[in-house]
């Protein structure tokens, strides 16, 4: 090796006045403003209110925002709206819970065993190919026109995305982790509990969010076809009597519930998958 000599660097000369830092134009959209997403809807409501006040909108087709609020308050205080909401919530909730349980159970059976996969996966995909709402007439004949068929349809709408995403996540487990489990001497139960299931959770949550949205979508359709109560029924009746304001109240309530349930799932997801936060932030 040659000898190294340490020298002190000579002082730098005065900078050239023309010396400037050249920065590339940033292609990122910039910093995120909190609650900025609400700006679009808020602007829409403002435009709606202004147009209604100016008399530019036919109140029969699109009533003013305050009329909608008034009808909502009125329906709420006389108790019909609360009854309808409770009925709808019960249907969506029961169907969702059943669909969730079925989706998880089938995905586990099919993702963890070859026999399960042979029996279940093809069948579920066949089921998926049939539009679920197309099953309504058959289910009415089988289960009668009461609550059972509505809950059954919602459960089917919910279980399919949960099954598909969870199954894909379970069977797509990284083979490197399988090898690791073998090296660390894990038994089959430990392997499933400590590696397969935690690894499949992100996929499960994708399915869960689709399932939650699906339960509301199914509900809207079902309650407008063969119902005697519920939000959809309320809107259907309003259509017969030309009450646009009541229809809008129904839509707003659906929207609020959809938003709340989706945010709830997102909050749970963030907590359960807290290890992922470090990746996205």
């Amino acid at each position: 090796m040659t000898t190294t000599t340490v020298t002190t660097a000579p002082p730098l000369a005065e900078p050239d006045p023309d010396l400037r830092v050249r920065r590339r134009r940033s292609l990122s959209p910039g910093k995120q403003v909190p609650a900025a997403r609400l700006a679009g809807p808020a602007l829409l409501v403002v435009l709606w209110a202004v147009a209604s006040a100016a008399g530019a909108l036919d109140p029969g087709a699109i009533p003013a925002p305050w009329t909608v609020v008034e009808s909502g308050v009125h329906l709420w205080t006389d108790g019909t709206l609360t009854d309808d909401i409770l009925t709808s919530l019960q249907r969506a909730g029961t169907g969702f819970v059943l669909g969730l349980a079925a989706g998880i159970a089938l995905a586990l059976a099919s993702g963890l065993t070859r026999t399960g996969e042979a029996l279940i996966d093809g069948t579920v995909n066949l089921n998926r190919a049939i539009p679920t709402l197309g099953l309504i007439p058959l289910f009415i004949l089988w289960l009668g026109i009461g609550e059972t068929f509505k809950i059954a349809i919602i459960a089917i709408v919910v279980y399919i995305p949960i099954y598909l995403n969870t199954h894909a996540a379970l069977s797509g487990i990284d083979s490197r982790f399988v090898e690791l489990a073998e090296v660390q001497g894990l038994n089959r139960i430990q392997f499933i509990r400590q590696i397969v299931i935690p690894g499949a959770l992100p996929g499960f949550f994708v399915g869960l969010r689709l399932g939650v949205t699906g339960s509301w979508l199914g509900l809207v359709v079902l309650e407008q076809i063969n119902a005697t109560s519920g939000l959809g029924y309320m809107m259907f009746q309003a259509q017969n009597y030309g009450q646009t304001d009541v229809i809008l109240v129904g839509l707003v309530v659906y929207g609020i519930f959809g938003l709340i349930s989706d945010s709830t799932v997102r909050i749970i997801e963030r907590r359960v998958l807290s290890w992922r936060r470090t990746l996205s932030s």
Partner: protein, 236 residues
């Protein structure tokens, strides 16, 4: 350095006529090899020369590979892979404890992390670690099981040059303290010379070189190993 000839009684690993092939292509052809207990052996070779296949055979990880031959390996074997292979959904300490149970498992895990210089990072997520730290955690995970045999498949291949030097020192230090038999697979001649007491070349074990660690003959080892690998260097 303490002489350890008295430990070389029973070989830790014995291979006799080990043959492995993939799709009719023979990768290992009748390998005979003894690894004495407590020895640090490096297995050197080109990529595709079968060195990883040999390691995987010793680790018992070659389920769907056709082959024959006899093999004996100790009960407690740990493997360090090229990637740290930490489970992203487990904190560092829980990764180290993977597959380990018992009362004082946690204490052992903390000790192992301290040994590799990760004290204080027990609660970190793997994604928060640098490449070198992740590989340290992987070393802790393999150490905590007190292996008789440590298999390492290019464990430092994905690290930058400076981190690699630090990891070489750490591995050598850990080996001197715990004295497992080590089989290190690498394609880096210098790494093999720096770390190992014995360097084997290629899957067919063409050259078996004992490294005298006090000697200044590293340059000569290097030339011999490179020649065995079919690489000639321009000598300036």
């Amino acid at each position: 350095m303490a002489p350890h000839t008295e430990q070389l009684t029973r070989p830790a690993v014995q291979l006799r006529g080990l043959t492995r092939s993939f799709d009719g292509r023979t990768v290992l052809d009748g390998i005979d090899l003894d690894l004495p207990a407590g020895q640090f052996t490096a297995l050197l070779g080109h990529s595709g020369s079968g060195k990883s296949t040999l390691l995987r055979a010793v680790a018992g990880l070659d389920h769907r590979v056709t082959g024959s031959g006899r093999l004996s390996a100790p009960e407690r074997v740990s493997v360090v892979f090229q990637d740290s292979r930490l489970l992203p959904w487990r904190r560092v300490l829980d990764n180290v404890l993977l597959g380990l149970d018992g009362k004082d498992a946690e204490r052992k895990g903390r000790e192992a992390l301290e040994e590799v210089g990760l004290k204080g990072r027990e609660r970190a997520w793997p994604s928060e670690l640098s490449g070198g730290e992740a590989q340290r955690a992987a070393l802790a995970r393999s150490l905590v099981r007190e292996p008789e045999l440590l298999l390492a498949d290019e464990p430092f291949g994905a690290l930058d040059a400076l981190t690699r030097i630090k990891m070489h020192n750490l591995l050598r230090e850990l080996w001197e303290r715990h004295r497992p038999s080590v089989l290190l697979v690498t394609h880096d001649v210098d790494e093999a010379i720096v770390l190992a007491d014995r360097v084997l070349e290629r899957g067919r074990i063409g050259l078996d070189l004992t490294i005298d660690r006090d000697a200044r003959a590293r340059g000569e080892y290097r030339v011999r190993l490179l020649a065995a690998l079919g690489v000639t260097e321009d000598v300036r």
